[in-house]
Amino acid sequence: MNLLDKLGKEWLFCDGGMGTILQAKGLAGGELPETWNLKRPQDILDLHCAYLEAGADIFNTNTFGANALKYPDDLEEIVRSAVRLAKEARVRTGREDAFIALDIGPTGKLLEPMGDLPFERAVELFGEVVRYGASEGADLVLIETMSDGYEAKAAVLAAKENCSLPVLVTTIFDSRGKLLTGGTVDSTVAMLEGLKADALGVNCGLGPEQMYPIVKRLTETASVPVIVNPNAGLPRSENGRTVYDVGPEEFSDWMVKLASLGIQVAGGCCGTTPEHIRRTIEKVSKLPFKRPVPKKRTIVTSFSRAVEIGPKPVIIGERINPTGKKKFKEALRRKDIEYILSEGLRQEDAGAHILDVNVGLPEIDEPEMMESVVTKLQSVTDLPLQIDTSDPAAMERGMRLYNGKPMVNSVNGKRESIEAVMPLVAKYGGVLVGLALDEEGIPDTAEGRIRAAEKIYAAAEEYGIPREDIVIDGLAMTISSDTGSAVTTLETLRRIRDDFGGHTILGVSNISFGLPRREIINSHFLTMAMTQGLSCAIINPGNEAMMQSYRAFLALQGMDENCMGYIEAYAGTSAPAPSGRTSAPGAPAVKSAGEGAMGLSESIERGMTGSAEAATRAALQGRDPLDIINEDLIPALDRVGQGFEKGTVFLPQLLMSAEAAKAAFEVIKESMAGTAREVKGRIILATVRGDIHDIGKNIVKVMLENYGYDIIDLGKDVAPETIVETAIRENIRLVGLSALMTTTVVSMEETIKLLREKKPDTLVVVGGAVMTQEYADAIGADCYAKDAMASVRYADSVFGA
């Protein structure tokens, strides 16, 4: 009998606590529970038998913490013996109908980029356990107690890639209904269903009573069967001792309430016993069973946020895209991720709900860049991303490493495209953009585009991608070459909405290509498209005219409760804000009455970004750019720097001045159109291996950049080899290393040693909280910089500036 023949069709019951019972049987502190599979197999066997006799249908192998990190030497034996014990228990109790769940818990490590376990390493670790367990005869994989959705994703992929057993996943929510990493019920359900988990749910952390709202939300959002395995109440400290005190009667009464919400699988976790499970089965199995109902919602998620597409249209920020953007292309070539991240954050502040990520340039390694941008963006924003590429390898890399359920752009009606893209969406999950075109090109009638869309819907069904995960691009083509094109696009949108109940998307501004004052056409077209059902508008949210159309539409369409969104955006404003950026949103909003009139030097000294930009623009009207740099900008920076060295100016002021100067430089750079500012020298900066603190390094970077240095920022936790290889490849004269902890100064020393050996002519400046002159001397650095200004002075002495 296969589990899938019963799952979601009748009541199924899981077993209860294992660790808490082993503790009661004498498991010592620090002793790994899985070692009992070999040391005390009888105890494990007895526990399985007790749960099977209580009536559990699904019972867990004693492998919760089994992975190669904890069992580097005998993992295979631990896992295989666990499954063998489960099989033996099944025979001994005559419960051949029960299913053996290969139990997989978290690794205990935090995944990159927040922690240091690479995603693919996590997949490997889980995969190893799955291979042993599946080949030994487990009936399903139960991934449980996951407090990080990303780790759960790694485990699901590992299970799917290493066996063909059903995969069940339960996560641990806190009393606010969130995972430790911030995920909600909605975001977790969308991601796990996208990954094709066969059932999902909640375990541990809370008792059945506290789980009620979470279980309710689960049953409202999940289309697959829901599993609920609570603790025997909240752990309570009694004289320093952890106790769970919800007894079998009370527990099972609560399970009846939870079961009535429409769950399909029930069991227990910490503190529950065979008696808890027996009473639960007695009571719950009498209740009418409800099958899970498909919810048909279109959801994209980040690690913590779920964004629903439709009925309210959403804004997808289009700025992370090199098309037609010289500066962005340059950033891609230089691997200047910071610049790309700042484009993302500005769009978030401007009101984007999803960020499009297109990093395709012919001369770069797109899969690698996609990986880098997706992971780094996800460490600074919780907006869902749209992975936008025509390179299937880049698409797969982005989707695989993505933390959540992404939007994917795009597939079209051509068979070749369908065969390249749809298997990826079927495997990783995602909301897929389908361009309404096919082998015959872009149809010039709505009828033709609908036919292409139908092909896409049909193919999705073939690949097992739910229809609601398809969003059709109605194709906005410029009206300057065909005045009927907008009408065709709008009719396509309307028919997808009315005839198919589907969702649509447009790259809105394409409509006006070749026309003057494009935003006039764009903003009106956006309004028209939304009235025809447009669900996703790919636009620049920094363009105020477009956002005005969007907000006005929501208010007029009854989609902005009490017009609060509109009022919040425009109350107290009198005229349309100028388009284009005057100051970085989120940057220090230091404004004073006379700011606009302030000179450049003063703006920099006072750290006012907006006025520094304005003053630079004004100065450029009549003066040579280089004169502005040499007479105003650099002297102002120097005065602040000297003040800092004397102790009259403090770090925040120094940095704000640096930001203002940087903004002024940007304005000058734009005006100089190509003739780049003279670079004094190129410097590598890195926080050494083992150290994840990069604040100090970032401060030094800003200062050095302002003083005319080109910085190769290798980031944090950087291996000595990487630093040395880069220094050799780029022929670098000066390397700056940062370490915050005494323990990581060792890596610093290692790096210096390797550098001396492989590239002896490179100088090293070191800094960081624990660093001292003595320390620096001891590890063989050329210079100890006590702060950012000292780094600048040293660089100037090295490069003779």
């Binding site: 502190g29 927040m114 990493t181 910071e338 460490s379 940095l655 704000m656 994840i692």
Partner: protein, 233 residues
């Protein structure tokens, strides 16, 4: 215990300025305003958590210090062991100890990372605000521990963290296990034993049979520190 958010909302701005290097000097109005914004943003992002546990303590003749489970605990055994001389001085004469771990959660780290992209000036202020907020939260948890200890008839020494003196960071592994830090409040350790979220602290608090507590702020603020044989160095 007071509501954690209330506690961190009342974080002393003086402390934030101290972390920024102002040492008692006033910042100018624009920076002061920024400190206000950053404190607010960090507080909004914070999801503070705390876990603590009373333990047994064995001070061995050979200088080893063992922190053990209490007889009534479900799982018995030694929770951590160290030969740290600095900790030995701190725990001299103690008959028990608390282990504690606190965190502001991952939200403040996100705020700092975002600021690092858009504004380094804001980044350092958020960083300083976070450090001051963490200390304020530690003080509150420490206060709660002192109240519990005093009900049980103990006085408390100032808290002592891995990384102080010669107390090694490797103890973080033992804290992780003994307090189930990851499961309870979401603190993970990297291979180099740093905590994530970064705004997190672990500490040991010695228990004495004396009826007076040490200064909560530690020996640096204590008026009797001069000549005190338990002084933290």
């Amino acid at each position: 215990m007071r509501n954690a958010i209330d506690v961190i909302r009342e974080t002393d701005r003086k402390e934030v300025r101290r972390y920024l290097g102002y040492y008692g000097k006033k910042a100018d109005a624009a920076i002061e305003e920024q400190i206000g914004f950053c404190l607010e943003e960090m507080c909004t992002a914070a999801e503070p958590g705390a876990v603590f546990r009373r333990c047994g303590l064995v001070l061995c003749e050979d200088g080893r210090i063992q922190i053990t489970a209490l007889p009534e605990d479900r799982v018995q055994g030694i929770l951590m062991e160290t030969a740290s001389k600095s900790l030995a001085r701190n725990l001299q004469g103690c008959c028990g100890a608390y282990l504690m771990a606190v965190t502001l959660g991952q939200g403040p780290d996100l705020v700092v990372r975002r600021a690092a992209v858009l504004s380094p000036g804001k980044m350092v202020i958020c960083q300083a605000a976070g450090a001051a907020m963490t200390e304020a939260w530690c003080d509150e948890v420490n206060r709660e521990i002192r109240e519990e200890a005093s009900r049980l008839g103990f006085g408390c020494r100032p808290r002592f963290s891995p990384g102080y003196g010669d107390l090694p960071l490797t103890l973080q592994k033992d804290f992780e296990r003994a307090l189930e830090m990851k499961k309870e409040i979401g603190i993970s350790l990297t291979d180099s034993l740093l905590m994530v979220p970064t705004k997190s602290v672990t500490a040991i608090i010695g228990l004495t049979r004396e009826d007076t507590d040490c200064d909560l702020k530690g020996c640096e603020s204590c008026s009797s520190a001069e000549g005190c044989s338990y002084k933290r160095t």
